[in-house]
Structures are given as structure tokens and as C-alpha cells.
């Protein structure tokens, strides 16, 4: 039983002519204790994927099993409870509540679990100690540096001991030193057995991941295992390219990243078919990945 199982999951937004396809029949399996980096240009459906995995959103079509449980159709109250107990969210903009102290912010998920005040504060305090923010307990979020705020947010995500941590660009608002701090923390959490999914635009950060998933236009175009401590092979290719997009790229709506993914930047219509070849070579496990990749194998 896999932790996360996506089967032909699609997500549509809007109606009629304004319909956009955020996820296009994505199939994806994530096992326990994986540390997955999700990369891709803006608007490629990364966040939608994260939201669906985190039970904030429902797929329009397809099946989604979480811990073997079919969760795409259950009631919102039940979803909230599963979200509370199994998923921890970390956001790009930290999303700490400004009127609450760090301690209260970290303890907030426990409020919704019905834990008593004293126990809440004790648990939150212990968590902050683990994170290394014990001395900032009674600070307000505005008094923390970006890195500290993100660590506090991670502490909040961890307080219910969820099996999955979903971090949507956790380092997006941080400088490199703070990014390191946050990623080291996530890495520690991973070592303790949690499954972590994070979205990033920084190829350097794939060092921390055990698996990198590339997305484009709502589909997974590439999926590779990568050893810890090394930048993923595909990501490496875009590391030292010119960081700005050319005018042509802008016109075509294709980012630098897409160019560097093998054969992915040729044409929109054929990118998936072409991506399967290099992906298949790199594949070591038998895990099903992007739907089109597995489909082509048959």
C-alpha cells in the first residue's frame, strides 16, 4: 500500500471556454519516507497537485488514495480531520497568524483537535525546542526573521505528527542562508521517517530530495530518483544556464526549465511522448509514474 496514489487525476477550473486544465490525467505514486521535490514553471499545476494531496482541493476526475483510503469523494468535515491528522502544510509566505504568538501559532492545529490549553502549550513548547526556537516562544511572527518564521511554520505543520509534510515553495521568500536553514530542518524531519513533498524553483535544493518530479502544463513529464546530497541530474542542466528567459521563450510561454528537460521543449503537443525515452532510461524502480509514461510501456 502506497502512501499517496494518484490514478488519472484531472483538475479543471472554470466553465465553458474559460476552462483551464490544471492537472491532466496525472498518475503518481509516492511511498512512505520519500522526499519529493516538485519542479516546473509557474502555472504548471504544482500547487494544484499539492492542494489535492493535502486534501484542500478535490480532483475533478480520477482516483486519489491516501494511505489506501479513497479520499476524493468524502465529506469536507472528514477531509478536514484527515488533513489535520495526516498532512502538515508549509507555505511560501509562512502564513503564521500575526495576532498570535509563535507558541500559539504552533499550537493552533491542536486547538482543532480539542487538546486542552495546558497540554497544547506543552506540546508546542516541546516542538519549538526541537526546532530550536524555544527562546522565541512569546515573540509575535513579525519579530522573527524569515527563516525563523518558516521554521515556526514547520513546527506548526509538525505538531500533529503528520505522515506527510507538504511545502509549497518553502524557501521562495528566503535568502540562501535561511533557505539552507529551512531545508536542513525539513531534511532532519525526513530522516525521522516523514514523507515530504516540496515545490521549488531552485535546482540546487534538489540535493535534499530523494526524488524529483517535473511538471509541465498539468502533466508529469519527468520523474527521477536522485541520491541524497546531489543535485538531480536533470535539474543540474539548468543550474548554470542564463537565469533570464529570452524573448522567444516568453512568446512561446516556455521557461528555461522546460528547455533543459530532455526533448521537452520541442512542441507542446509531443512533449510527453518524447519525454518518455530519457525517463525510461533513468527509471530504476518499477513505480508507476506519469500516466503517459506507463501507458506507452504497454
Amino acid at each position: 500500500m502506497s502512501l499517496i496514489e494518484f490514478k488519472d487525476v484531472s483538475k479543471l477550473y472554470g466553465f465553458g471556454d474559460a476552462t483551464t486544465l490544471a492537472l491532466d490525467e496525472v498518475s503518481l505514486t509516492i511511498e512512505e519516507n520519500e522526499f519529493v521535490a516538485v519542479m516546473g514553471p509557474s502555472g504548471c499545476g504544482k500547487s494544484t497537485l499539492m492542494n489535492i494531496i493535502g486534501l484542500l482541493d478535490r480532483p475533478t476526475h480520477g482516483d486519489f488514495n491516501l494511505k489506501g483510503r479513497h479520499v476524493s469523494k468524502i465529506r469536507s468535515g472528514q477531509r478536514a480531520k484527515i488533513r489535520r491528522d495526516t498532512v502538515g502544510f508549509v507555505f511560501q509566505s509562512f502564513n503564521l497568524l500575526p495576532r498570535l504568538t509563535v507558541l500559539e501559532n504552533v499550537a493552533l492545529p491542536l486547538v482543532y483537535k480539542g487538546v486542552s490549553v495546558n497540554r497544547r502549550n506543552k506540546l508546542a513548547s516541546a516542538m519549538l525546542e526541537r526546532i530550536g526556537l524555544k527562546d522565541r516562544e512569546y515573540y509575535y511572527p513579525r519579530h522573527l526573521s524569515g527563516g525563523q518564521a518558516q521554521c515556526a511554520a514547520i513546527a506548526r505543520a509538525l505538531i500533529n505528527e503528520p505522515s506527510i509534510i507538504i511545502a509549497d515553495e518553502p524557501t521562495g521568500n528566503l535568502d540562501s542562508a535561511n533557505s539552507r536553514l529551512v531545508m536542513e530542518l525539513l531534511s532532519d524531519i525526513h530522516k525521522m521517517g516523514n514523507t515530504i513533498l516540496f515545490v521549488t524553483h531552485n535546482p540546487e535544493l534538489t540535493r535534499y530530495a530523494t526524488r524529483v518530479v517535473y511538471m509541465h502544463d498539468g502533466a508529469i513529464i519527468h520523474d527521477e530518483q536522485t541520491p541524497l546530497g546531489e543535485v538531480a541530474a536533470t535539474a543540474k542542466k539548468i543550474m548554470f544556464t542564463v537565469p533570464t528567459k529570452t524573448e522567444e521563450d516568453d512568446l512561446a510561454g516556455v521557461s528555461i526549465l522546460m528547455k533543459s528537460v530532455p526533448d521537452a521543449s520541442d512542441t507542446e503537443a509531443h512533449h510527453a511522448e518524447k519525454a518518455q525515452k530519457p525517463a525510461a532510461k533513468k527509471r530504476k524502480s518499477s513505480k508507476p509514474r506519469a500516466k503517459r509514461t506507463t501507458g506507452a510501456k504497454k
Binding site: 491528522d85 502564513n95 480539542g114 505543520a157
Partner: protein, 411 residues
């Protein structure tokens, strides 16, 4: 309601405090509503107590016989007469009735009260709106009052031009504290002041029956003055023993029915009925004014709803965060309901505090003596809480139904 723990209440209070001015303005509607209702009821209650005091000062066993039949339905008395002694009634009783009352079983004393119209003047002063009451020597014992200075006219001098005055007449007519032995002219005759009552407790609603402004003259003198056409507006009677009051009421009823040939065109009222009559009317007035005042409470509730709706939009991002970390719709609903309720409850409590201050103000600056009972405080508190819950529901439902992703995106 597990989420309504101490921590949540604290969080809510923090959020209210963070927008102090706005919260205060929001509460203002409820504050004004509560103050107006509590004050109205308080003043009404105060007047009711005053009337009760005034009625009770004459003793529990006083029986009043008035012309006209006060209709009695299920214990309530609907009366179109004056609140206290029926002085405004159109028809009167006559000396025969007085005799009938006197002759009824258990009656110890019976004293008539009739108004004699006319102008009272002294050598240098003139009282146009004087209240001259014709009565007999039994009045002091019927009213449970003895004359403070001088004497009341006794049986022998009921033919003589003697007068006994109320406390305020001394000041308005004679500029003297104790004007015993002074005289005045009334209907061409000279009267000598023989005694003066001490101050009667008065009520603002019944100035016509205010004995402090009255001049009492013997009934027989009044008959002489008016040529025997003095009408009795009421007869006051007392039983031989206080515990016989009810029996006396029925025996007077019987005697009067006999005297009136079986026609019930009079009423015999014990103190309880007197109070009920005045209390019912006062309650009616108070309820009506309070109902009008309660409209402002509804306006206050709408104000809370308005602000809560604005708050929901303003805090959309927060709602998104809370949902993302596992708050159920129900828990978000509870949070906003709690906030509206606390806001409204605070408004109610402030309103009660303002009312208490207001009552002191009214007591100091007017003759009214409003009272705030603990029942009024409890009801006001519960009402304000209920308003918060009622008007907080719609915004709370709106907040709870927000889509978490959209809410998170909102900054």
C-alpha cells in the same frame, strides 16, 4: 462546541481588542438598545413600586369603594378611572351608600371623599388649582395617618368651618411651615386651619390624588356649601380586624348591591385589586415603550452582522490558513459565532453598566426612582447574547463555507 475552550475565548478577545474602535462602534448599537430597554423597564418598575408604596402607606386593609364597575377578567382589572381613588369618575356615590358601607358587617370605619370645586384664597394669595376634599373625622384612621400638627376635626365640629391641610399647601398658600390658626376663604366662607398632615408619599403618575396638595373640610360643611350636591368620588373603609379584609369586601359588596337595587354600578376594591389595576396599566405602558426600545436592539444586531460580514472578507486569508491546518467548517463557524456573541455580550454588559449609571442620574435629577432588578440584568445579558448568536449566524456560515484555496490566495 469543543473548540469553545478557554484558549479560543482568549483568541477571540484578542481579535476584538486588536480592532478596538471598530468593536466599540459595533457594540454601540447593542449598548444603546440595552440601555433604552433597561432604563425604560427600570423607570416603569420604579413607578410601579412608588404606586405600591403610596397605596401601601394607607395599610393593607384599606378598602376603596368607587362608583362605576371595574371589569374584572381573570384577576385583571381594567379600569378607566383614576389610578388611585377614582376621582375622575363621572358619576358619584351618595350619603346613602356611605350608610350602607358603614352598616355592612365587619366595617369599623367608613370615610367619604368628595371633591369640592372652587378657589381658595387668603388675603394676599389665591390658589386656582386647589384640591378641596370633603370628608369626615374617620379619614386619619382610614389612611393610617394621624395629623402631625394640630387636630383633625372630630365628630362635634363637623359642622364648623375647620380645615386640615396637606404639607405642600402650607408652603403654597401661607408661606409658613405650620400655619395653624391661619384662615382662608373658600366659596365665600372663612375656614380656619386646624391641623396639618405630615408629608404623604407621592407618585408622579397620580398628582390629582396627591394629598399633600389637598385641603380637607368636613363633609357636612361641603354639603352646605354646594347645597347638598357634593358627590362622593370614593368611600374608604377599614375592617374591624385586618384578617377580615376579604370578608369585609364581600359584605360591603352585598350591602351596596342591596342599596343599589341589585345594580352593580360600583366597585369594592381591596389593596390588592388597587395595585393590580395600577400595576396592569403601568405594565402595559412599560411593555409598549420597551418594545419600541427593543427595535434599537435589532438595529444593533444588524450592525454586528454587518461588521462580521466585513470581518469575514477581511480575514479570508486567516480562514484559509485555519482550514489548511485542519479546521473543519463547523470549527470556523463556531469561531465567528463566538466572536459575534462575545462582541454582543460585551455590548450588553456595557449597556447594563451605563444603565446603572443612568439610573443614578435619573434618581438625582428627577423625581423618578427607577430600579434595575437582577432579573432585568439577567434578561439583558441573555438577550444580548442571543442577538450575537442570531445575527452572527449568517456571517459565520459564510466564513465556514469559504473554499480554503481561494481563501488562502486572498491577501
Amino acid at each position: 462546541m469543543a473548540t469553545v475552550s478557554r484558549g479560543n475565548v482568549k483568541m477571540t478577545i484578542q481579535s476584538i481588542r486588536s480592532t478596538k474602535w471598530r468593536s466599540l462602534l459595533t457594540m454601540l448599537g447593542v449598548i444603546i438598545g440595552i440601555v433604552s430597554v433597561v432604563m425604560t423597564v427600570g423607570i416603569g418598575e420604579g413607578v410601579k413600586r412608588e404606586v405600591a408604596n403610596q397605596v401601601n402607606q394607607f395599610g393593607d386593609d384599606l378598602i376603596t369603594i368607587r362608583p362605576g364597575n371595574a371589569q374584572q377578567d381573570n384577576g385583571k382589572i381594567v379600569s378607566n378611572a383614576d389610578l388611585l381613588f377614582g376621582l375622575n369618575s363621572l358619576s358619584g356615590l351618595n350619603p346613602k351608600d356611605l350608610g350602607a358601607v358603614r352598616g355592612a358587617d365587619h366595617v369599623r370605619i367608613a370615610s367619604p371623599l368628595g371633591v369640592v370645586p372652587g378657589t381658595v384664597q387668603t388675603s394676599d394669595k389665591k390658589l386656582n388649582n386647589s384640591l378641596v376634599l370633603a370628608t369626615n373625622s374617620d379619614l386619619p384612621s382610614a389612611l393610617n395617618r394621624s395629623v402631625r400638627y394640630g387636630d383633625f376635626f372630630s365628630g362635634q365640629d363637623e359642622q364648623a368651618n375647620f380645615a386640615v391641610i396637606g404639607r405642600h399647601v402650607a408652603a403654597s398658600l401661607f408661606d409658613e411651615n405650620v400655619p395653624l390658626g391661619r384662615s382662608f376663604t373658600f366659596r365665600g366662607q372663612t375656614f380656619v386651619v386646624r391641623g396639618m398632615f405630615d408629608e404623604f408619599k407621592s407618585t408622579p403618575l397620580s398628582p390629582a390624588a396627591n394629598f399633600n396638595n389637598a385641603i380637607f373640610i368636613p363633609y357636612q360643611v361641603a354639603e352646605r356649601l354646594t347645597g347638598g350636591s357634593t358627590q362622593m368620588y370614593s368611600v374608604l373603609a377599614k375592617p374591624d380586624k385586618p384578617e377580615n379584609t376579604r370578608a369585609t369586601v364581600s359584605s360591603i359588596n352585598k350591602a351596596m348591591l342591596q342599596a343599589h337595587g341589585g345594580q352593580k354600578d360600583f366597585s369594592v376594591l381591596g389593596q390588592k385589586e388597587m395595585l393590580a389595576a395600577s400595576g396592569d396599566i403601568l405594565s402595559l405602558i412599560t411593555t409598549m415603550i420597551a418594545a419600541i426600545a427593543a427595535i434599537s436592539l435589532i438595529v444593533g444586531g444588524v450592525g454586528i452582522m454587518n461588521i462580521m460580514l466585513a470581518t469575514v472578507t477581511e480575514r479570508l486569508h486567516e480562514i484559509g490558513i485555519r482550514k489548511a491546518i485542519g479546521a473543519t467548517n463547523r470549527q470556523i463557524l463556531n469561531q465567528f459565532m463566538l466572536e459575534a456573541s462575545i462582541l454582543s455580550l460585551f455590548g450588553g454588559l456595557v449597556g447594563i453598566a451605563v444603565s446603572i449609571v443612568g439610573v443614578f442620574g435619573v434618581r438625582i435629577y428627577t423625581d423618578l426612582k427607577p430600579v434595575i432588578s437582577w432579573q432585568a440584568i439577567v434578561i439583558a445579558t441573555l438577550t444580548s447574547l442571543a442577538i450575537g448568536i442570531i445575527f452572527g449566524t449568517l456571517p459565520a456560515i459564510k466564513a465556514a463555507r469559504k473554499d480554503p484555496i481561494e481563501a488562502l490566495r486572498h491577501e
